[in-house]
Symmetry: C2
Subunit: 546 residues, 2 copies
Amino acid sequence: MTAHVIERTPSAVDQPLLIGTILEAGVRSAPEQEIVYADKMRMTYRQMGERVRRLASALASAGVKPGDTVAVMDWDSHRYLECFFTVPMMGAVLHTINIRLSPEQVLYTINHAQDDVILVNREFLPLLDAIKDRIETVKTFILLDDGEGPESSSIQAHGEYEQLLAAANAEFEFPLLDENTRATTFYTTGTTGLPKGVYFSHRQLVLHTFALRAATSGDGHGRFNQSDIYMPITPMFHVHAWGVPFLATLLGVKQVYPGRYVPEVLLKLLVTERVTFSHCVPTILQMLLASDAVKQVDLSNWKVIIGGSALPKPMAKAALDMGIDVFTGYGMSETGPVLTLSHLQPHMEAWDNERQAEVRSLTGRPVPMVTLRIVDEDLNDLPHDGKSQGEVVVRAPWLTQGYLNDPEQSEDLWRGGWLHTGDIGVITEDGYLKITDRIKDVIKTGGEWVSSLDLEGLVLQHSSVAECAVIGVPDAKWGERPLALVVKKPGAEVTAEEIRELVAGYAEKGVISRYGIPENITFVDSLPRTSVGKLDKKVMRAEHIG
Amino acid sequence: MTAHVIERTPSAVDQPLLIGTILEAGVRSAPEQEIVYADKMRMTYRQMGERVRRLASALASAGVKPGDTVAVMDWDSHRYLECFFTVPMMGAVLHTINIRLSPEQVLYTINHAQDDVILVNREFLPLLDAIKDRIETVKTFILLDDGEGPESSSIQAHGEYEQLLAAANAEFEFPLLDENTRATTFYTTGTTGLPKGVYFSHRQLVLHTFALRAATSGDGHGRFNQSDIYMPITPMFHVHAWGVPFLATLLGVKQVYPGRYVPEVLLKLLVTERVTFSHCVPTILQMLLASDAVKQVDLSNWKVIIGGSALPKPMAKAALDMGIDVFTGYGMSETGPVLTLSHLQPHMEAWDNERQAEVRSLTGRPVPMVTLRIVDEDLNDLPHDGKSQGEVVVRAPWLTQGYLNDPEQSEDLWRGGWLHTGDIGVITEDGYLKITDRIKDVIKTGGEWVSSLDLEGLVLQHSSVAECAVIGVPDAKWGERPLALVVKKPGAEVTAEEIRELVAGYAEKGVISRYGIPENITFVDSLPRTSVGKLDKKVMRAEHIG
């Protein structure tokens, strides 16, 4: 006998998980709540409900059908939020174009996603002008106009967004879709290679939203509740601004969209709109903390999830000292994105900032519905002892089920039935993940994994070292051995032996494995970096591995 | 072109929605949190995680396989909670037996559900003894022993629960199930007819839990957050105690299971365990409010959802005056159960108790993922004006998809693709549902629906009337006409004409439709009632409709 799958009487409708249910819940619970676009526009949830129907009518008039792909090139705006709902609710796919990519990459993603329509902010028309002749599938352009951008362009727009909405029918019957219908797609870029398309269904977005709701609401620190006021500081084209606009809409909270990220504007909106909840990368937080304007404002009601890369503990401490409730979120484009959050446990909330910063800068604990493991190369579980390093592999009901039209990389992502994050981490006894390295950067030596990031951090403690990168070089006996590439500070002196002794000292204290002590140390004038300023270890490997 | 259903690379796993994910989240977030069984047992979430694996090992040793049905006859206990998770996680079906049914009805449900195993509290052995020879499919009985109940029984138990757990393997590999696997089943009884089985899948229970989490957490009144302490006062055999034990486990809150409901014990646990969140029927609340013991306790930190039948406004007011945060929940066995909650909107929280009681005793606003309509007999929507009465029909991702092995009643429940609640209600302009009647009791006259409950309430205002029931009688011209059956108070006098004038007065004020004024008023000595004390209109119709 096997388990019973439930029977359905023929007339029964098993309500599918569609993204419209999120909007419906928000409008129902807080119809008069506000949604704000910088200093340009304010509307209520009730109005947004109507505008979403108008937008659907306008898009349908422009020829958009179920299965079409509708792309958006915009700053964070109320329009973007409306597209987050309207396009998928029509059965079409929303392609959130990363406007920070090069024109050639933007062109590639437009053609690869087979966009039918592009909604484009006038400021980005020059970008489209440059690639227009090579765009293959787009039939219609719709203009998003905030009064900035060039006067003329080779792009012939079907109409302007607000004018189209004003003229459109306020009623629209959204179709009852299969919950596995693709709702969104966007592209992730590595340091080399072509952008890869990830994609998410209605079901996935709904479940991500409800799991986030469970993980972030309630009465601990860093929670996101009905009386909060939300402003994203991670672009909406980047993994749906981490999915938080969907969560904010479900909650029915006031939402503030800041347009282009200008530090003074962000700080002004934080204050004037009384924002209490945001998310950003460490660079943005650092920029805000370092600005002069921040000294005049009170950010003690501000909660911020930090993601994208690790939150350095000193930055966490500095933010805490300013009263900011800062903590880490972890995920990636492929994971929709949220996998973990580093909320404190209740008993930790009484700790001092120094101790709290330690926990808040960890990668975090898995949110509900996420199964997260650290494993060896054969997918065996490793102990949760805060020391054993393994690759982070995950399952959850909202992970991309492949890369768009790329069977080979799709299978590699999901080999063995687990999504491989490519990150190396440890899990502490109380269940916090800490990412220690990227798997491609970790050094496998003597049967152990040594974190290149850990090693770099130790070498950088030497007062004469300006920069350091550690890569693994093949070794017949040990598998790999670490090679430290070191840039000295101008006019400073340091020998390889001094660096080796420094690291050996930490190995004696158990901070790092004995296998991590590098016998190979090479002094270089500079380290190669990618276009976004990250250390480019691919180039280093090409140069230093014979 | 039609909408794209997402492609999955062959190795990708789309994590199914299984009930184990709720337990996993709770254990992960609050491993040291407590679960308490009255004054008998305390354990942590971490321990429950282990006990669930031990119970699965023990049940497997007793022969339980995927597809089997495992029934429970118990008071509210930690064991019941463990069965809520363990049995479905094994791929088996949990049958929560309603121990308040007659022995014949219990027998019917055991045979109809085809129970393979029954876990039975020693106190209920006499009930099983009486029907044992006619039980058809049960192969194994497991004893739940709190030291009460008869010394001997004809039932041969395979073993005692705690002893079996102690001896069982603490490791168990739960299967990866289809999320549409049936997880639970139980029976709903009308005033006549055989009990009907409803059933719920893993997916449905998970989605109900996450939607409740979204609806009940946060920073308004009546919310259920991590620092709350939960005690059910609706039996666990009744629609999984409204699904709140699943929610409590997801949250990782302290849970208190009170055993058999004895008012003094309930009040004592409320105080000693510092319970902050419960749910019960109005009768229980009334019993607690009326007890002497309540005068010595402070219930001002207690939040209570009232369901099962309408919360009378005076009872809401009385509870509010004692500081109890009381509000309505609405649903039924068929709906898993929660459809609406009558939380105040933020601006209402400053209102006085009288005005608040008005809103809190409404049926409530739909929780996320629920689509709720009031419709006429052709399923057309009626206006949300607080006046137009229609049948409440719903869709949600957790409604029973039929009655177990009853195709005819299943189709009737779901006719037209909407689950028919059988309730008549109005929806106010700000979205609160108010149930006004059962559809089988409403009087359809002159193209309008007149609520029998409304009419009864008006007639009861006459100082000489002790009891009143209104039923509809067929009428060639008007479809139906109301017939009021009236019991006079002992020694009091009242004429049909006086009652008619009383109602006519309210019709002039617009309180009730003109069509509601009854020309037929019959004085009777008493009104027939069901075994649970409800007015039995089926009997009245049989007696008074020629």
